[in-house]
């Protein structure tokens, strides 16, 4: 239990640093594609974590991310929405027998299709709220929707590769 909390804490810290120091600096197509991979830490919080804890962790993550970039409040808003919806999406996608055997929403435990639905949905919601909080407008519509969509896909792609790298050896944990 303590070890799990410790693992999650280290993972979230590492991901925030990775995001702020390296990923945010990548200029793909002049910033048209901008992945926000730090939310991987929030998506990987184990199933049995109480909802209020998920919410508070997401809020803290967003706050620290805000310190690193742009106007204050953007990431806080997006992460609070993400942390609130995460348990709902898990419930929506729950298999018939429930989640009690497995502990973490990984590809190895839940399968690729489940994972892509789960992470894809939450990533898109997070990116949408984040982008909307930044600009407060949606015109020109197709440019902005494209920005959100392609950034989400980039985030999802990086997170999926990261899954295989991080959880590959300890799949039975």
């Amino acid at each position: 239990m303590t070890l799990t909390i410790f693992h999650n804490f280290i993972r979230i810290t590492f991901l925030i640093l990775l995001q702020a120091l390296i990923v945010s600096r990548m200029q793909v197509l002049d910033g048209f594609i901008l992945p926000w991979i730090y939310i991987f830490g929030i998506l990987m919080i184990p199933f049995e974590t109480p909802k209020w804890a998920v919410l508070l962790i997401a809020f803290a993550t967003g706050y620290i991310m805000d310190l690193f970039s742009g106007p204050m409040g953007m990431h806080m808003t997006a992460c609070v929405v993400l942390g609130w919806l995460q348990p709902f999406v898990q419930k929506l996608l729950s298999p018939r027998e429930g989640y009690d055997i497995v502990q973490r929403p990984t590809i190895q435990k839940m399968g690729l299709q489940w994972y892509l639905t789960y992470a894809g949905l939450l990533t898109f919601i997070h990116h949408f709220v984040l982008f909307f909080a930044e600009t407060l407008r949606l015109t020109p519509f197709f440019y902005h929707i494209g920005h959100i969509l392609f950034s989400s896909i980039a985030t999802l792609l990086l997170m999926t590769i990261g899954q295989y790298l991080i959880f590959a050896q300890k799949g039975n944990e």
Binding site: L21, Q27, L56, L67, S69, M76, T77, W84, A133
Partner: protein, 284 residues
């Protein structure tokens, strides 16, 4: 009462969510006003330190490019030195320079973090209040405008560059001297900005130079901002729609100078006195 507590308990997570969400929105919509509060300040020393470490590494990798830039600037400065100029001596008496009071002083700083392609961009520099940086000081690079300092911690400062919709500065056309306002459309190309409020009767040509006015006391006057690259006038409007190419290349910026106006306090207090006097006269 008991029922209310029961209700709150049952919907605890939702109440917590609402609280955090509203708090975040308040911070988002008033990020200017709260900048001075310590715990939501972007020029946080910890964050600055981290960016500084990363920057040291990157700076090392970019040494060649920075060397080239410095060499270019050296050459340009050398060309301006007095031995390269044939001077026509017209002075009769030599003047003791108590007549020329120094007004602006300059401090150098390195940029350690910068964004150029967001809706509102910021730069972080590695010099803060201990290094003599204060809010509202102007920031320039290679003799062209970069931005204005917007928040300061002990060792770092955050600069609001031209590439931020909150940046406001009056500009003038070289030659005619007519002045307008510079504005950057949020999220647009970091190489260009707009100049507004220049009336149609003023002749503006593509290639005209745009300079600072020096009214705001952030910058000395006649600093280079950019030159006119496009004119998109509309017949129904009374002002020009001018697009300028910025003199500063924000993507390649690494060293800047922070301008401090030594006489700013004098100028401001004089204006204040005048306003107080005006207000007093208008009282019934």
């Amino acid at each position: 009462m008991k029922n209310i507590i029961e209700l709150l308990k049952r919907h605890f997570v939702f109440v917590l969510f609402l609280f955090l969400f509203i708090f975040s929105l308040v911070v988002l919509f008033s990020s200017n006003r709260y900048q001075k509060t310590a715990f939501i300040n972007q020029s946080n020393d910890w964050v600055g330190q981290l960016y500084d470490w990363r920057d040291q590494l990157q700076r090392y990798l970019r040494l060649r490019e920075i060397n080239d830039q410095l060499a270019l600037e050296n050459a340009r400065l050398r060309a301006q030195m007095s031995e390269n100029v044939f001077t026509i001596d017209t002075t009769v008496f030599s003047e003791n320079d108590t007549l020329h009071l120094q007004r602006f002083s300059y401090r150098t700083a390195k940029i350690i973090n910068a964004t150029v392609n967001r809706e509102s961009n910021y730069l972080t520099i590695d010099r803060g209040s201990i290094g003599g940086i204060h809010n509202n000081m102007g920031v320039i690079a290679n003799g062209a405008v970069v931005g204005v300092v917007s928040s300061v911690s002990d060792h770092f400062a955050v600069v609001l560059p031209i590439l931020n919709p909150k940046f406001q500065e009056s500009v003038k056309m070289k030659g005619s001297g007519d002045f307008g306002l510079i504005a950057w459309p949020p999220g647009s190309d970091p190489a260009y900005a707009d100049v507004k409020d220049i009336p149609k009767h003023v002749q503006v040509n593509i290639g005209d130079t745009v300079l600072t006015t020096g009214y705001g006391s952030h910058f000395p006057s006649d600093l280079f901002i950019g030159f006119v690259s496009e004119l998109n006038d509309r017949p129904e409007e009374t002002f020009h729609r001018i697009k300028i190419q910025l003199a500063t290349d924000f993507r390649k910026l690494s060293h800047v100078q922070v301008v401090s106006d030594i006489l700013k306090q004098q100028q401001d207090s004089l204006l204040n006195q005048q306003q107080i006097r005006d207000d007093a006269n208008h009282l019934p």
